[in-house]
Amino acid sequence: MESTPVIKKETKNRISVDYEGKLSYKERLLKKISASNTWIKVVVNIFRFILMLGVSYVILFPFVSKVAGSFMSMNDVVDATVSLIPKNPTLDIYKYLITDNRYFEAFGNTILLSGLCAIVQTFVSCLVGYGLAKFKFKGNGFLFALVIAIMIIPHGTLELAMKRFFADFDLIIPISLDEHMTGILELFTGERPNITNTFTPFVLLSLGGLAFKNGLYIYLMRQFFKGVPDELEESAYVDGAGTFRTFLQIILPLSVPMMITVFLFSFSWQWTDMFYTDVFFEGTKAPWMLPNLIDEIPIHLQSEHPGAAIYEVVIHNTAGILIILPLVILYLFGQRYLVQGIERSGLVG
């Protein structure tokens, strides 16, 4: 006589069933352990965990040593017995970096510039990525190739030309092949404005989808939109929505995780950027940015001590902590979306 299995207990994840000839818990456990692949699994798991731990250590240790160093006084820095925990901890480096090197001014400028660039870049790469992914028009493939080509040409090559372009800005191709070409701005205002030392060049580059690594953002967005099924838009069209309404009301809300990813990238890469700020900001009128914190040693910390060279590195490390601290906080909030956005994007080659 056979009895049907009886459900004994049912929770959300687990159902325990009673049936004839069921082994006791102890017996089942023993069987599980003696199975040959259990041990392999355990070993692989432990090995994997240790490996991940090791790589995490390599990533995190420089930050730990930077933080430890930032509390050291000059004596600790030159003392060979001090490695991580300072003997006489002090907040001097932080204090003077903030007061002498005008941390808050730099912070304000940087947050303004990064925020501006990140918002514009995210939106523009969203637009361009959507256009490239979902519309068949003449030159689509060529434009995508152009996006990649622009990413390949290093901006270091264009540094000089870029500097001169924005120092002598006009809207109609003011190339130096012909010095006397009159541009639109010159026609109306009679002069070509110098817009270096302002945020305008950054915004203009972002608007055109040409700023630092914008090619990558456009690529990510394009691949993301390629994964969005066409039926979604078609049903919106059938319901009478136009292309732009569909984009704003259907597509944009869908792509929020990917947009957060792009925003995080553009914001933080602009935040730590030195190349563009060096190109566009020059002289006494230049806005004071966060990466400028390492340009000079705070007056109160300058010394003739023989260990000054090493101390300087410690100061720079501390400046580094101050620079990335806001980013770390942003990352803590955003990292979940970063991975999710990428994971759900279903990027296809």
Binding site: N45, R48, F49, L51, M52, V55, I59, L60, K66, V124, L127, V128, G131, L132, F135, K136, F137, N140, L143, I150, I152, P154, H155, G156, T157, L158, E159, A161, R164, F165, A167, P174, S176, E179, L204, L207, G208, L210, T243, L264, F265, W269, D273, M274, F275, T284, P291, I294, A309, V313, A319, I323, I324, V328, Q335, L338, V339, I342, L347, V348
Partner: protein
Amino acid sequence: MSNNNENVVKTSPLDAVKAFFGKILPATSGFFKKLFKPRRSLDATKARAGYFFVLPFILGVVLIYLPIFIDSVWYSFSNFTDIQVEVWDEELGANIIKHITGTTGVGFEHYVTAFEDQTFYQKLLASVQEMLFQVPAIIIFSLFIAVVLNQKMLGRAAFRAIFFIPVIISTGVMESINAEDFMKEEMGSGINDGTQQNSNDIINILDVQNLFASMKVGTELVTYVVGLVNDIYNIINYSGVQMLIFLAGLQSISPSIYEACQIEGATGWETFWKVTFPMISPMILVNAVYTVIDAFTRTTNPAMNYASDYSGTPGVGVAMSWIYFLIVTLIIAIVGAIASSFVFYQRRD
């Protein structure tokens, strides 16, 4: 003489304008009619909308990028006549330096100078070598980590958060601070024990060479692997974006394929090579190209830095970076050709 003058019909400028518009208006109205024609095919409508979406990029390229690009190419073929003049600035109340610049073409002179520059040649070689050295390592490492991070394991969320820290944070100014930090460690290690071993190095090349001396493994391979292990910090830092792209690719593989494999009795190893690897291969191509681009547009790249900080004629520096760009384009083409020979595209409907 005077008769001739009388015979000429006097035309006012207004007439000219009228005539002009009379001629042009029918044509333009036809154009506008065509543009706003009430009935047109869906494809045509969509194509037009597509242009609107990519408009920012097109405008950016035409108005900003193209002038800069042409200028930069022109600079590599020309000499600067850059005169700096001190001009009294009312706003600032001080003298500011104003540049009066012009260019004169010199042909291929700068390129010849660049090729004759021994230092540049060495830096170029070193950069390309380092790039070729790092690219396979970064690809393999990031693929490996992505595969591991894609599995269920203890503390996966935490590891993911840690692994993507470098993408967000270790860029720009942090890269140079980190580089300096490593220099300090090396300074601190003082006199070494004669093996030319840096204190940062994880394994000593001599130890490993002794170990492998009896085996028939080439010294080149040993040197390469030891170099990689000692370069692990950089490799981890540079593989963040690649990891994300791989992770996205892994997520887009349908779980039903893996289920089928499991039912058929395939081992994990087989599943990786027969399923995961082919499915991820488009991402390998993307990442290979991205890694090359990233490596040579990086701010710490020696050849690029040498070119942009070139002390002599500015045109030579620009010429150098163009040479470098052409070489890297060649490398990208080769890498792309190699990678695309084994890329597998799943047919999608």
